[in-house]
Amino acid sequence: MAFLEGNALFRNLYCLLAGNPGNAASCSGRDGLLPFDWEWLAFAIVAGLIALALINLFLLFAMFYTYMERRLLGRFQGRIGPNRTGPVGLLQPVADAIKLLTKESIIPNGVDKLLYNVPPVIMIAVVFLTLAVLPFGRNTFIANVNVGVLYIIAITSVNVLAVFMAGMASGNRYATISAIRGVAQLISYEVPMVLSIVGVLILVGSLSLVDIVEGQRIPFILLQPLGFFIFVVGASAEMNRPPFDQLEAESEIVSGYHTEYGGMKFAFFYLAEYSAVLTTSGVIATLFLGGWKGPLEPWIPSHLWFLVKVFALAFVFIWVRATLPRVRIDQTMAFAWKFLLPLSLINIFVTAAEVLLLGQATEGQGLVVSTGGLWLMVAINIVVAFGGVLAFSRMVSLRTTALPVRAGVPQASPQVSEVAS
């Protein structure tokens, strides 16, 4: 019963329901409530309960995050955020939910029914599925999948499909433009994102998220500053957060791919976007900030440290949203391919070289670097990070010139503007 190890809550509830002489080793010989052959029912009930509790708790946090974002944005802009509904405005997400639930769901005529209804479900499902492998605290996770990182990357790639379906099925020109931009941007940013994690994997030697947290003697943000930067930027682009939110650029294409969605479907997109920020912060905290690790362990539980790190990252995302203007779509593509991708490759190369040179071969774990070696790596990597960013920012120019209009395409006037830059 491998899934009974390492998850105390699950084990206790399961044994409560289905303890029997068959799994006396795991359940310490107690007898459960269900007869022998009904273990699958115990599994289903306990798993269902835990999943229900987790998803509800997570959605509560997501709702709180929407409120937090609005208030923090207000404070950044010199105004108060929502403060009328409930004490200090805390019931604002509830008001939003009620409004979205009671809205009429208007479906335009020219949509493709199946393609129109499926994307909201996909987007919210992706977010929940990512939660399954995150370790929230010491020995608190749903599944210790030994390819956890690969699983997360694969799941978040499904987002692309949802955005594309939503945009194309809407039958709205703006939504189509947004869908096209969306596919380009989301696919491009996955490459540097994935490559930046490789540095972490080299240092840890395992794809499992629980092992990555266990293996962080020094938080990886110090050991892999370049990787952290690239991952955060890539994740911003994957979540369509400013400054990469051309997909839903309000002033140009009026909400982009979810223009034609109303009511509960829009609520799913809205919730999925904010939940994605929280899960991505969770992934970043696990990979780079040390997960649930923190000082003063017995008094401050590990779950609290995890939450603190997640919300600190969420705060940084809000801060960046309040400050930076939007990057144009061709410039985002240039940024991904010309700036982030080479930097992530440099990161892999430098990390691998360091581990090879500084690591000592140990039994069963491959090359392990000593703590002193790790601090040396920190110093080298920080220098490489700053140097790389500076060097590339000078070399890469993101500005474009006016494209000459293609011959043969009908245009009203024969003149082409001369650009003297």
Partner: protein, 367 residues
């Protein structure tokens, strides 16, 4: 396999979160590249020029307030200068100083709106907009002290201004002049070197000087292209020949220059206001002209350097208490005509930014 594509025509319609007012643009795209653009305006036409033929010269001041509703004082000033030319009335000194102070404050307010909305269209999620509006609130409070209203002001009359500034206006003005440069420095720190802003706006939608002159473009748009043409220096009116100030000039005429020049102009406005506050003398604020003036038969064209360009009024009088013809030369309308030529070849995202950088106001375009 031959690759066939066709351009698509999109209607960036009168209702849109970003077009500054009700402006309809019919844009033909090839992918994301703009091939052709046709502005369709007239959605805010209120018939100001015809209405003015039935109103007395003093009542038309309330009409001119509402043309460019963001910069009300300068509208008043241009009209009043035209009417004074027509009627042969000279305003007293103190009135001219007060007018210049009010006009320069209004120029700062208008440029704050322009910068704020330009950055909002760029995607900085309303933060610079809120900062700019916070400063604009202080200017509007000053206007409330001067003339009792905040946006549609009707402060000036033919012959001067209608009432002197109250006593608490001057300390408030000095306080504002003292703290505004710090806020301008904050905007500079926030925006001028921001890489994303620079990348989005440098080199985009270049307007050359020849093209601008051919199209009668005036104002910050012309100065950003490189020509230092400012009516306050070239053809000084009121007391502009007694104050020292510089005219910021851009180099290339791209979006970045048009944005930066407005920041620099705000500093010069503060300089002008400071000098006027030092030079102003007590005295009457309104010439002895009656409320219902009957100018002699003739015509006059009065023009000023407004925040958006050369704002001029052409008045024809036939000897009665209302003008025979009232024509407004609105800078926004004429600046709008170059939008098509500077946008061809750029992308949809640039269209919004360029429209913001030219800074039009639909109340003025449609009158």
């Amino acid at each position: 396999m031959p690759f066939r594509s066709e351009p698509v025509t999109v209607n960036v319609g009168p209702q849109h979160p970003s077009t500054h007012g009700v402006l309809r643009l019919r844009i033909t795209f090839d992918g994301e590249v703009i091939l052709d653009m046709e502005p369709v305006f007239g959605y805010l036409h209120r018939g100001s020029e015809k209405l003015a033929e039935e109103r007395t010269y003093t009542q038309i001041i309330t009409l001119t307030d509402r043309m460019d509703y963001v910069a009300s004082m300068t509208n008043n000033q241009a009209y009043v200068i035209a009417a004074e030319k027509l009627a042969g009335v000279r305003p007293p000194e103190r009135a001219m100083y007060l007018r210049v102070i009010a006009a320069e404050l209004q120029r700062i307010a208008s440029h704050l709106v322009a910068i704020g909305f330009l950055l909002n269209d760029l995607g900085a999620f309303a933060t610079p907009l809120m900062y700019c509006f916070r400063e604009r609130e202080k200017i509007l409070d000053l206007f409330e002290m001067l003339c009792g209203a905040r946006i549609t002001l009707s402060y000036m009359r033919v012959g001067g201004v209608f009432q002197d500034a109250p006593e608490d206006f001057w300390p408030a003005l000095r306080g504002f002049l003292h703290e505004m440069p710090h806020y301008l420095d904050e905007y500079e720190q926030f925006l001028s070197e921001n890489e994303i802003l620079v990348t989005r706006t440098k080199g985009v939608s270049i307007l050359t000087v020849d093209h601008a002159l051919n199209a009668s473009v005036t104002g910050p748009v012309l100065r950003a292209s490189g020509l230092p043409w400012d009516l306050r220096k070239v053809d000084p009116y009121e007391v502009y020949d007694r104050v020292q100030f510089d005219v910021p000039v851009g180099k290339v005429g791209d979006n970045y220059d048009r944005f930066k020049i407005r920041l620099d102009e705000m500093r010069q406005c503060l300089r002008i206001v400071e000098q006027c506050v030092d030079q102003i003398e007590p005295g009457p604020v309104r010439a002895a002209a009656p409320n219902l003036i009957r100018p002699p038969v003739g015509d006059a064209y009065g023009r000023i350097e407004g925040p958006k360009g050369e704002l001029g009024f052409y008045l024809v009088s036939d000897g009665s208490i209302a003008p025979y013809r009232f024509k407004a030369r609105s800078p926004s309308l004429i600046n709008l005509t170059v939008l098509r030529d500077i946008l061809i070849g750029w992308k949809l995202a640039d269209m919004i930014v360029t429209l913001g950088s030219i800074d039009i106001n639909m109340g003025e375009v449609d009158r």
